[in-house]
């Protein structure tokens, strides 16, 4: 077992962990932050996306032991965050979710790209979101939601 100390959603977490445990399992099983979902456990589907030191990362292929000294934020961190609220309302307006399983991961990646890119066209949005799989929506609403979010960002100047 390994002692780790890191921040999750702004709070310090100290734990003794099995080295093989993924960050995703730690968040879900030990901290009961179940908003982060597991879809493949080999880093392809993106359902497990969190923010690791401020950038989107796949928690299923992040060892919790390797989080020592780092900063992790999950979907639960962004309850009242303005940018996330914009994304939420666009996702709802554009019907960018159906079963909800891929949704937290979609939002976490969306938040990353909305933050890091001043603007993206549709091709850019599709490329940047290609690491988050969805089986329900056909991606139409997700792309439109992000187009709206980037348009709003342009208008803010």
């Amino acid at each position: 077992m390994i002692q780790v100390s890191f921040t999750v959603n702004g709070e310090r977490v100290d734990a003794l962990v099995d080295p093989r445990m993924s960050l995703a399992d730690f968040l879900r099983e030990k901290l009961h932050l179940t908003g982060t979902h597991i879809g493949c456990e080999h880093g392809v589907c993106g359902a497990c996306t969190v923010h690791f030191d401020g950038v989107s990362a796949r928690s299923c292929i992040t060892l919790v032991a390797a989080c020592d000294g780092h900063d992790v934020k999950t979907i639960e961190n962004y309850e009242t965050d303005a940018r996330m609220e914009t994304l939420r309302s666009e996702f709802s307006r554009e019907h960018a979710l159906q079963c909800g399983y891929c949704t937290p991961g979609m939002l976490m990646t969306s938040y990353d790209i909305l933050t890091r890119f001043p603007d993206l066209d549709q091709d850019g949005i599709r490329r940047e979101m290609s690491g988050n799989l969805c089986r329900c929506t056909g991606y139409q609403g997700i792309v439109r939601a992000l187009q709206n979010a980037f348009a709003a960002k342009r208008n803010e100047g």
């Binding site: 093989r20 009961h32 909800g100 891929c102 290609s130 089986r135 991606y139 609403g141």
Partner: protein, 787 residues
Amino acid sequence: MSSTGIGVSVPRKEDRRHLHGKSTFVGDLSFPRMLDVAFVRSPVAHATLKDAEIDPEDRARVFIGSDLAAVSPIVAEGTIPGYIKTDYPVMARDKANFVGQILAACLGPSRAEAEDLAERVFFDYDELDAVVDAVAATGPGAPAIHPELPNNVFHRMEQGTDLSDLYATAPVKVTRTLKLARQAIVPMEGRGVVALWDERADQLVVYSSTQSPHLVRNGLAEFLRLDQNRIRVVAPDVGGGFGYKAILHPEELILGFLALKLKRPVRWLEDRREHLTAGANCREHIYTMTAFGDADGRLLGLDADVVVDAGAYSIWPHTCAFDAIQAAGILPGPYQVPRYHVVTRTVATNKPPIQAYRAVARPGACFATELTIDALAREVKREAYQVRRENLVPAAAMPYKAVTGKLYDSGDYPKSLDIALGAIDLTQLRAEQKARLADGRALLGVGFATYTEHTGVSTSVLAPLGTRLMPGHEQAAVRITPDGGVDIRTGVQSHGQGMETSLAQVASEVLGIHTDKIQVTHGDTALTPYSTGTYASRCMIMVGGAVADACDRLIARMRVAAAHLMQRAPDELVFRDGAFHADNASMTVEQIAYIHYFVPAELPEGMDSGGLEVTGGYRPKIDTGAFAYSTHVAVLEIDRDFATVKLRDYVAVDDCGIQVNPMIVDGQVWGGIVQGIGTALYEEVRYDETGQPLASTFADYLVPGCGDIPTIRLFKTETASPFTRFGIKGVGEGGAIAPPAAIVNAVNDALMPFGAEVAEVPVSPSRILAALEAAGVAPGLVAGARP
């Protein structure tokens, strides 16, 4: 008309919790002392099993087939003519019949430790030759998977009339063999079960990511041999189903057994590798189609042979014959086919047991028929859309009795095609296509597919099959709450289609109450009326009708109260916008509810003692189904060097009758189309000759991502069904039906100048190159090739 009634794109109630990461999927549940289960799954496709080697220290936490003798094998029975029932042991005992079949359940305090234990359990076995090819399986010398089945055939069926005269005399005849690969369904959330013994209720409680909790309860009772009232099944949030979660699964029975035995909560969550290997279980069909036509391509008849690769077992309750029966019933499609003959065989192979994935056999049937229509068009040298159009059932013929006996209720199929044509500029595309052929740019192809889809199948359709999937009238319970709101309870379960919103809209339409004041509860057998569940695009028709019926009855009861309280005759009152009106007086539902619950002394004699709580029910009087329909067009480019397909434009013209929530309808069609694109271009699990699946992760099994698909242009028409409440038809599956057909028709349109044709999905680069090679175009010379 309510502001949140039928036809309004009411924002979904479900969204809030999902957007905040506050859903409750089965993997989010935790219970004290819960143990995790990992299965030992067969590494071989076909073997006789011998002893298990289990360390004595581990034995108490390992359960093998002989430990589960109290659990009956699953037996999917039916009165389907030509169907032979077989056993499906929940855990293999003497024989393993597919890679991934469960051999043992291992328990641990965590999934990781359960997997460690599973690695220490070894089964000795004698490997047998594997049956991997469904056609070869029926031949002499093929190993027998089930002793009861002659030539590995679960079910054989022949329908229609003899067409030998057409073979001899028809002016035009085309024959094609069309194949669909085996796929996995891949909902983003895998299956999952948490089972526990509830002491207070004296019940086995099974939480399962399921579309049909009451069906699962039926199955648990039957095969665990328990009374139903000792069992409760709860579907929490379900992360996609698409049919994968609409049946009883061995894992549900095994976990139920373990919970009863250990009196501790037990959990199993399907991981992606399990799903892609043990769950590679759908779509694998072979169609041999012969279309007979006149010189213009007008159909004279259709002869079809269908082989369904059904895997090793017959699933419950549908039986493995479901796919073939459905294919036989819909192959004539939206066309006027004067004469029809079909033979189907549902064949056992050493692969996972076939399940009905979104639209079941309709994508396969549409693929077979639409490619055949295009082949017919090429044969008579006419544009495929023209031949298609001339064969479509015209609107004036509705309701139309198809050659299969199915009654197409309403629709304008030619208009669907015309709208699709109008959405693209075919003249311009043909010009571009020609230019590209000459100048060496990527090849351009345009393909069409039109289908009609049997939604809302009910008693009359399923009764002859005599299986345990037997819907009757559908019930819904509706209560007016003391504050004038509405509680709805239904035994179906949403897995993305937003029924917490859309069913509320139906009640809103009838009662005139805002959906904000309407709560839908579903998915829990303890809380809801019986239902066969969410499948076959039935819920909006059936549950919508039941909710409306319950609301009608509540209005009738409230009318009696309102008449008394307003001192009018009941028939003087008009119910509108959530209130009873007469002259300049009115009384709202909320006011009536207040009196009913808090001042019942003021109610009249003759009030129904059932109060403001009703279980309504519904089944269309003519319950033979409501036929939704659509035309899709695919415009694509084929890279001359790599033979990769890039979709440039995708148009769908959809008609699902009257739409309850147009936004939700859009989402169902988009999602279905992208799954169809997956079927068309990417998804397959191939097997080697020993029955080993060759895909086990997303590195091998490719699922469409955001960057792989174009914007879908969706057009809709609304042609009401004359048979259903509000004229609704089902829409949950339709989008997935046409893409393989439209896309491969487009590929073949692009390849036509080379005389090459693809007849299989997924249409991978290697299949395109093989088609070109068969036509004499050497691989690698596509870049410079001219026809």
